[in-house]
């Protein structure tokens, strides 16, 4: 009698278990898996850099990744009392506006980065700044020097010397130190940077009492400058200012010498990119404005540079120094405000003073353009050396 009752209880138990199992299966099938990304413990920084150019600045990417690896190897960035891993999301900008914009918007909207480092060129940076301004994400460009990039914006920053100052600096050096009085300018009129720098230089030179004897624009993509160079030679200019990208400058110097121009070549910080200008025989004896001078690094910064050089396996150059300073500014701002929230980061960058970068000391007391020093570099023997240092404008 007892065992009968027990067997029946067991049977009922098994049946109930089966029913509950069926219900569980049904409810499990009706629910959908929800995926959620946990990105709170990361400091996500986007890097916009041309890699599949021309141009391509792989060294900048390598330097930035080496720095991030070093920060993370030390347990992450100390922010607000805790250590946060830094994640660098590199996007190739390819070298044209559409791709740069797509990449920037993708980093902001899809990858939800807290800050952008880049883009490199003013023409791109002006449009990317629209997007970062809209999304309230700070953008720190290593090299976009045109004042339009940061003008009237809260979230756009640039660590390089702004073109107005750069143009004036070179104009003063040319007029006062080199004693030049008549200068010609050849510039790419279809791109923001050359166009702007040419104008700022010429205006400053004229204001000093010099004479711009020829101001020749050319449309981008042109490879033959003989017409413009002919006019410049005819104008008897003592010097030729070439505020253009290096692929143009290389052609222009050679063509100018062939055309019989014997004066001095002057240039802007675009010459810093790579070594193609320095190695050119026509370029020896030329001057250009630069943000970075290897020999001018302070002791503490030099040690860091040496460490990164040993990791990356290449010497610290301007490409590396500028991207590291842009990235460094973002990291320093995060540490200063103790937050990686984009809006706080912006406040942190805007209040950064006397940041010791690889390219010198810089501050942001006048909007998004770094208040910083610069060098007049002299090309000699395939090397550039600082001839004059511009102290940060007080």
């Amino acid at each position: 009698m007892r065992s009968g009752t027990f067997a029946r209880r067991c049977l009922l138990g098994v049946a109930l278990c089966l029913a509950l199992g069926a219900l569980a299966v049904m409810s499990a099938c009706s629910g959908a898996g929800a995926g959620a990304g946990a990105e709170d413990d990361e400091f996500r920084i986007g890097l916009l850099v041309p890699l599949s150019g021309p141009p391509n600045i792989v060294t900048a990417k390598d330097a930035a990744e080496a720095l991030v690896a070093r920060v993370n190897a030390g347990g992450g960035l100390a922010v607000g009392g805790r250590r946060i891993k830094v994640r660098l999301l590199v996007e190739d900008t390819g070298g044209h506006v559409e791709r740069t914009l797509s990449a920037a918007v993708r980093l902001i909207r899809q990858e939800r980065v807290a800050a952008l480092v880049g883009p490199y060129y003013s023409r791109d940076a002006i449009f990317v700044a629209n997007a970062t301004e809209d999304a309230q994400v700070p953008m720190v460009s290593p090299t976009a020097s045109n004042p339009q990039v940061t003008l009237g914006r809260k979230y756009a920053f640039s660590v390089c010397l702004v073109d107005t100052v750069q143009g004036r600096f070179m104009a003063q050096y040319a007029f006062q130190v080199l004693g030049l009085r008549s200068i010609a300018v050849l510039y790419d009129e279809s791109d923001t940077y050359p166009q702007g720098l040419a104008r700022y230089f010429a205006d400053a030179f004229v204001a000093l009492g010099g004479k711009v004897v020829a101001q020749e624009g050319y449309p981008g993509g042109v490879t033959d400058f003989s017409i413009q160079l002919g006019r410049i030679r005819a104008a008897k200019a003592q010097a030729l200012y070439l505020p253009n990208y290096v692929q143009d400058v290389v052609l222009q110097m050679a063509q100018a010498r062939r055309a019989g121009f014997s004066g001095v070549f002057l240039g802007g910080d675009s010459w810093e990119e790579g070594t193609s200008v320095l190695e050119l025989s026509a370029a020896q004896g030329s001057f250009f404005t630069a943000n970075f001078a290897h020999g001018a690094m302070g002791e503490a910064v030099r040690r860091q540079a040496e460490h990164l050089e040993s990791v990356a396996g290449v010497p610290m150059d301007s490409d590396g120094a500028m991207v590291l300073d842009a990235l460094g500014v973002v990291l320093a701002a995060a540490q200063a405000v103790g937050s990686v929230a984009p809006v706080s980061l912006r406040a942190g960058i805007a209040s950064l003073r006397d940041y010791e970068g690889f390219s010198g000391r810089l501050s942001f007391e006048r909007g998004g353009d770094a208040v910083r020093g610069a060098h007049i570099m002299f090309i000699e023997g395939g090397q550039a050396r600082s001839r004059k240092v511009l102290e940060p404008a007080s």
């Binding site: 029913a19 049904m26 044209h96 559409e98 914009l101 279809s190 449309p219 993509g221 042109v222």
Partner: protein, 656 residues
């Protein structure tokens, strides 16, 4: 409810069946839901896939159409520029109005530009503000110089809104590059393609997002300009370059079935989604229908099981009913023998059993009544006690004997408290009886006790063990027997005429007095008294008068002594007095004088009653140490007094 199910056979059968059939129905419902769901999921995915393929094709057709238009416009523009360094104002205006006509015809064209062959300067634009700008670093320009090209979706530099640009080189007949024609396309037309819901049901929708997860086109209005990016599983997978399908939550948190495709040529993801509620609604309905049908079938079968089990259970129920009646005390109940099967046999057997039970019960009842009457009528007290001394029962005889019922005296100790005034009696009573309970053949106990009404009674009690550990206590009232025993004993020791102790008792008392005197070092006085002239009185006035004299003498002698002293009649007219605890012979003398005085009363009864007496006094230890010597000394002293004329006393040992 549970109780009812456990008590009712039918309810148990039906409920067991119900549980199993409900489980079956639930299983069937689950199975049909799952199978239906899997089927519907595939069907939904197929629908979404064909819809998304259709959209992709439509998109391709749209782009192709735009490219065809571009070729057409391009030919026109090229003709204008051919062979000239530039256009004059009139030509420019004519071309512009031509382009504006084209724009008016094609709502999705936002801007038409003619760009310089080098440097990308904007030579002509339907938006005059753009003229003079440069497009050198734009892909649509650099690619457009090479051939007809589609710049996949990118954020417009000005508005950041997704834009597509088609461009082509403008060449003259000799193949010289005259410029680049670019057309910016708004995505309103894509919206129309996307918005069409053909074959996607109520909740189905398709939408496009670009690589930055910006919504390019959506079936839902108002979503386009919300500026919010949806991070759903489908979008993430598509933007990672994948194509496929899955179930996930859409941006509104609604579970959907989704198909996603990465359209690499356009750098966009196309998603088609349908809410799972709608997609699987039929599965739910199928499950509901199968559960309902199952429930209906189960209910019908339940009814069948109920009817069948009722029929099965009816004979069992009637036997059960009869059995319950018997259990309730009605031994006359009988189960109807309805069938000839095992259940009929069960009923018969039950009835036979009930018959036997009924007979046995009557016999037992009769016996019980008789035994009870015996107990009730027994004059002797009968009680039942536990070994612990607790009283379980007593009959009226027992109650009568002691005057208490079991409820008043629940134990032997309680009984002892009531019937014995002395604590030691109580204790010995309980101890003795408890001892007796342990013995095989305990003694009979006789004791005196105090009845409830205050009278002193005697009881004879004996315990005997019963099987099972209890003991039966039998008790009888022996007060009458004790009284008659006392009477006999008194008669043996007292003189029947005067009531005074006789010679035997006197000897006893004297012996006691001597023992006490020896122990206490005191004295005993013995007075031997013989009436003077008694024979003469007897002869003169008869024996009746003589007896009266003797009775009166006895009374007067008793009045002469203390309570503790003994007056006895030895026979005839001879009396003795034992004075115990005598301090000295002088006290004996005083008593002797008192006796003489009281027995010489010539005035009483006309001088025929107390005519004097002769008294002899002997004292212990002066006159003797034992009874015999004292008695003979006293007797001798009495004779001496008698010889001296009577009505006098003589002390033993004194010269006559």
């Amino acid at each position: 409810m549970m109780g009812f199910i456990q008590k009712s056979l039918v309810a148990r059968l039906v409920s067991t069946y119900l549980v199993f059939s409900l489980l079956g129905v639930a299983g069937m419902g689950a199975a049909s839901y799952l199978v239906g769901r899997a089927f519907l999921r595939q069907a939904a995915v197929d629908r979404l896939q064909s819809a998304s393929r259709q959209k992709e094709t439509d998109l391709g057709l749209w782009i192709e159409e735009r490219l065809r238009d571009l070729q057409f416009v391009g030919a026109t523009v090229a003709r204008q520029y051919a062979g000239k360094a530039g256009l004059d104002e009139r030509e420019t205006q004519r071309l512009l109005s031509h382009l504006r006509d084209y724009m008016a015809a094609q709502a999705d064209v936002r801007e038409v530009l003619v760009l310089a062959p080098t440097g990308g300067r904007v030579l002509l634009s339907t938006d005059p503000a753009q003229v003079g700008g440069y497009r050198a670093s734009y892909n649509y320009y650099t690619q457009g110089r090479q051939g007809a090209t589609v710049q996949s979706v990118y954020p417009s530099p000005e508005s950041l809104r997704p834009t597509i640009t088609v461009s082509m080189p403008l060449k003259d007949e000799s193949g010289e590059l005259l410029g680049v024609l670019a057309v910016h396309l708004g995505l309103e037309r894509i919206d129309q393609i996307i918005r069409s819901r053909a074959g996607l049901g109520e909740t189905g929708e398709t939408y496009l997002v670009d690589s930055s997860n910006t919504l390019v086109a959506s079936g839902r209005k108002g979503l386009l300009h919300s500026g919010r990016q949806a991070h759903t599983e489908g979008i993430e997978r598509a933007l990672a370059g994948g194509s496929g399908h899955g179930q996930y939550l859409n941006d509104a948190g609604v579970p959907v079935v989704g198909v996603y495709r990465w359209l690499a040529p356009y750098q966009m993801a196309l998603l088609a989604e349908m809410s799972q509620d709608e997609a699987f609604a039929s599965a739910g309905r199928l499950a509901l229908v199968s559960v309902l049908v199952g429930l209906a079938v189960a209910a019908l079968l339940c009814l069948g099981v109920y009817v069948f089990s009722r029929r099965m259970a009816r004979p069992i129920l009637s036997v059960t009913k009869a059995a319950m009646a018997v259990a309730g005390g009605d031994l006359s109940a009988r189960a109807p023998v309805a069938t000839r099967d095992e259940l009929g046999n069960l009923a018969k057997a039950f009835n036979a059993m009930t018959n036997d039970l009924s007979n046995l019960y009557s016999r037992l009842e009769l016996e019980g009544r008789e035994r009870g009457a015996i107990l009730q009528s027994s004059f002797d007290g009968i009680a039942l006690a536990e070994k612990s001394g607790e009283l379980v029962f007593n009959n009226p005889g027992m109650q009568r004997l002691f005057g208490y019922s079991v409820s008043e005296v629940p134990s032997l100790a309680a009984l002892a408290d009531r019937i014995f005034p002395a604590p030691e009696d109580r204790q010995s009573f309980v101890v003795n009886l408890m001892n007796d309970m342990l013995q095989e053949n305990p003694p009979e106990r006789v004791f005196a006790f105090l009845h409830r009404d205050g009278g002193q009674c005697w009881c004879r009690m004996r315990v005997s063990r019963m099987p099972g550990g209890r003991v039966v206590i039998n008790a009888q009232d022996v007060s009458a027997l004790k009284a008659s025993e006392e009477r006999v004993r008194h008669m043996a020791l007292h003189d029947s005429l005067t009531g005074l102790p006789n010679r035997q008792l006197f000897a006893d008392r004297l012996e006691q007095a001597l023992r006490r005197a020896r122990r206490n070092n005191s004295g005993v006085g013995l007075l031997y008294i013989d009436l003077d002239h008694f024979k003469a009185l007897n002869d003169a006035h008869g024996h009746a008068h003589g007896d009266r004299v003797l009775v009166e003498t006895a009374l007067r002698l008793k009045a002469c002594v203390r309570e503790s002293d003994t007056v006895a009649r030895l026979g005839g007219d001879e009396f003795v007095i034992v004075l115990s605890d005598l301090p000295g012979a002088a006290d004996a003398k005083a008593v002797a004088e008192k006796v003489l005085d009281t027995l010489h009363d010539p005035d009483a009864a006309g001088g025929n009653m107390f005519l004097g007496a002769s008294v002899g006094v002997a004292c212990y230890p002066v006159n003797g140490e034992d009874q015999d010597s004292l008695l003979s000394k006293a007797d001798a002293a009495m004779y001496a007094a008698k010889r001296a004329g009577g009505n006098a006393y003589r002390m033993a040992g004194t010269p006559s």
